[in-house]
């Protein structure tokens, strides 16, 4: 009897949870409630008509002589869903636009989107499933570790990939063997670039003579930026007076900040994600450390996580300056109309650009007359990304995407500042 009651209660708990999910997600637009509209697992080699895709939602195009399949891979659920959904939405937004205008060479682009939950093993199986389904190119993966795992699968088969968010140098370049992964491109910065930019900015514009660093140890993004910052500071003659670390999940930074305060630096470089940044800045002000904090693009969105007065005067560099030009404003309006503003972040913009670069390359590849998904076609896409990229005026790089020898984009950084509780564009640097 008691067990029966217990079962009913457990069922209620579960039911209320699922109901609650719907209820609260209406309070929180996007984010958690935004269930990924992933492809349900359809038969691997079934006809494209059987799969539910964005192309399927378009009106039938009689001129269509087939479709071009493009994969989108990333964490759509779980801890890193914010980034994965932004990438998925950004790319989908542009591809849907192209499809609505008639596609490429009369062919619709069919999106195959899978969730990897932020797990490398899942990323590899999901990617392999996409390859089985005949994708021509991939936008993704999102997290650096997952992306490197996927590159290991994609490089041997020469499948073109553009990542909008994986910032580690190792994504496109294998330092052990000295090989550049010719099929992998990205539309975001690499880690060292941002650290160097901010060190330069601190020395030249802010006139800092000394700096301190606090970063998350065990996070390659955070450590990568911090290392580059320290190296550049040494080259510029800025004295790094304190270097502190913390581990993932920490919320109390006062001990580290007390050490930093004791060293009295001119600026503090804090290359972490906005949630931690908010806590760090708040606690720094609490213990009386009043100097400006500098950060990398992980800061975007920090305004909701600390008070306006605490954040006043903090600076970070980013690839994306919200509302800075008409093209950016148009992108933002389209995005918000379709997905809400919740996941509209830098990765949505870089992913939109990734889709632009990819579509330009697909157009080029179509000229070869090869069959989408074939080896020659993929080669043509890879060549197309490099050749067409410079003429693509993206949302985060109006000057186009010119890739260097390591397939990294060469573009300027945007310096953002927080003032009056808003993150505003300060200058290009």
């Amino acid at each position: 009897m008691k067990k029966a009651i217990a079962l009913v209660l457990v069922a209620c708990m579960a039911a209320s949870m699922f109901a609650g999910c719907g209820m609260v997600s209406s309070l929180l637009p996007g984010g958690a409630g935004d269930k990924a509209t992933d492809n349900p697992a359809a038969g691997a080699t079934a006809t494209p008509a059987g799969t539910e895709t964005s192309a399927g939602t378009q009106t039938d195009n009689p001129a269509s002589t087939g479709t071009i399949k493009v994969g989108i891979l990333g964490p759509h659920t779980g801890e890193y869903a914010v980034y994965g959904l932004a990438v998925k939405n950004g790319a989908t937004l542009y591809i849907d636009k192209v499809n609505a205008e008639g596609g490429i060479n009369g062919k619709q682009i069919e999106i195959v989107a899978y969730d990897n939950k932020g797990d490398s093993a899942e990323a590899v199986t999901a990617f392999t499933k996409m390859v089985d389904e005949g994708i021509t190119a991939l936008i993704g993966d999102v997290l650096t570790g997952n992306t490197i795992a996927v590159v290991g699968e994609a490089y041997p088969i020469g499948l073109p990939m553009i990542t909008a968010s994986a910032t580690a140098a190792a994504v496109t370049y294998n330092a052990d063997t000295g090989t550049v992964y010719s099929n992998v491109f990205r539309t975001c910065f690499i880690d060292p670039f941002q650290g160097e930019k901010m060190a330069q900015y601190a020395a030249d514009v802010l006139g800092a003579k000394s700096a301190a660093v606090i970063c998350e140890t065990g996070n390659d993004y955070s450590e990568g930026l911090a290392d580059a910052f320290r190296e550049k500071c040494a080259a510029l003659g800025v004295n790094v007076v304190a270097s502190e670390g913390y581990s993932k999940g920490d919320v109390d930074f006062k001990s580290q900040l007390t050490n930093i305060a004791a060293a009295a630096p001119d600026v503090v470089f804090c290359p972490n994600y906005y949630e931690d940044d908010g806590l760090i800045v708040t606690q720094a002000r609490e213990i009386g450390l009043a100097v400006p904090f500098l950060g990398g693009d992980g800061w975007a969105g920090v305004k909701d996580y600390a008070s306006a007065e605490d954040l006043e005067g903090c600076l970070y560099c980013s690839a994306y300056a919200p509302g800075s030009s008409d093209a950016v404003k148009a992108f933002e309006a389209d995005y918000t109309a379709k997905y809400g503003a919740d996941s509209l972040n830098m990765f949505a913009a870089t992913s939109y650009d990734a889709a632009m670069v990819l579509v330009a390359a697909l157009k080029k590849a179509e000229e070869t007359g090869e069959q989408p998904g074939s080896e020659a076609y993929m080669q043509a896409v890879i060549a197309g990304i490099a050749s067409e990229g410079p003429s693509v005026a993206g949302v985060t790089s109006a000057a186009g995407y010119t890739f260097d020898a390591y397939n990294n984009p060469m573009k300027d950084a945007v310096i953002m500042t927080v003032t009056g509780g808003e993150e505003v564009f300060k200058q290009m640097y």
């Binding site: 067990k3 209660l9 997600s25 958690a32 914010v82 581990s247 999940g249 213990i287 009386g288």
Partner: protein, 295 residues
Amino acid sequence: MSLLETIFRQILNGLQSGSIYALVALGYSMVYGIITLLNFAHGDIIMVGAYLAWLAMARLALNPIFAVLVAVLGCTILGMAIEKVAYKPLRGSPRISLLITAIGVSYFLENAAQMIFGASSQSIPAIIKLRAITLGGVQIPGTALVTLLTAGASMAVLTILVNHTRMGRAMRAVSEDTGAAQLMGVNISTTISFTFALGSALAGIGSVLYSCAYPQANPTMGAMLGLKAFVAAVLGGIGSLPGAMVGGFAIGLAEAFVSAVGLSAWKDGVVFAILIVVLLVRPTGLLGKPMHEKV
């Protein structure tokens, strides 16, 4: 800043986080004392409390005082509900089954919160606004002061409750010998429920203090906090209330010290190393009573 002042500040940092650990450790210790269950979900109750505070303040725009009440009451009810649904049907089952259930509950709460509120942190508006005060030339942050005072008051109330009331006596009797207590007319179910309620209420207070000091709610925040509080409870001697308090402050101070000397990356490792050393050298903890194996 002089070296002495830095040291004083670091001690203050340690005491602030230590008092939160101590409050959580008390809940662990009480539940363990009474039904020898390691309530894995205890840390997650704090997470729910933080989300309740966030919902009350950020979404419903309630007064902070109501938000505190909502969080503490919500935690108390949740704690009792978990006991009724998940632990009560298992009374008399092997300990390993209870433990696995507790892990299941903890996992459920974390993932449910993640589905409902999303994986990223929610920012909790300031519950108390207090200027830092200066004492003998040293600045003491307002939140640190409030945290220390509230934690101290809660512990004092708890001590009186356990030592000088009828229910407290029943609790002590049940944890001493369940069978004998039952024969003496103690209602076991009520006593266990009350213990869970009390422990969860303390977790609720802990969640409010936590939200003041670190104003963010996130689905996995309870996991590490719960584990460290458990370490504190074991360090002090599980089942012993003064032990839990001592253990909490000791862990807080140890963490602050490790970070202060620049080894913050090893902080979690050090906490668990302390646990391992304590368990091996003095399994009953600093203030625990020795236990004997019964055949």
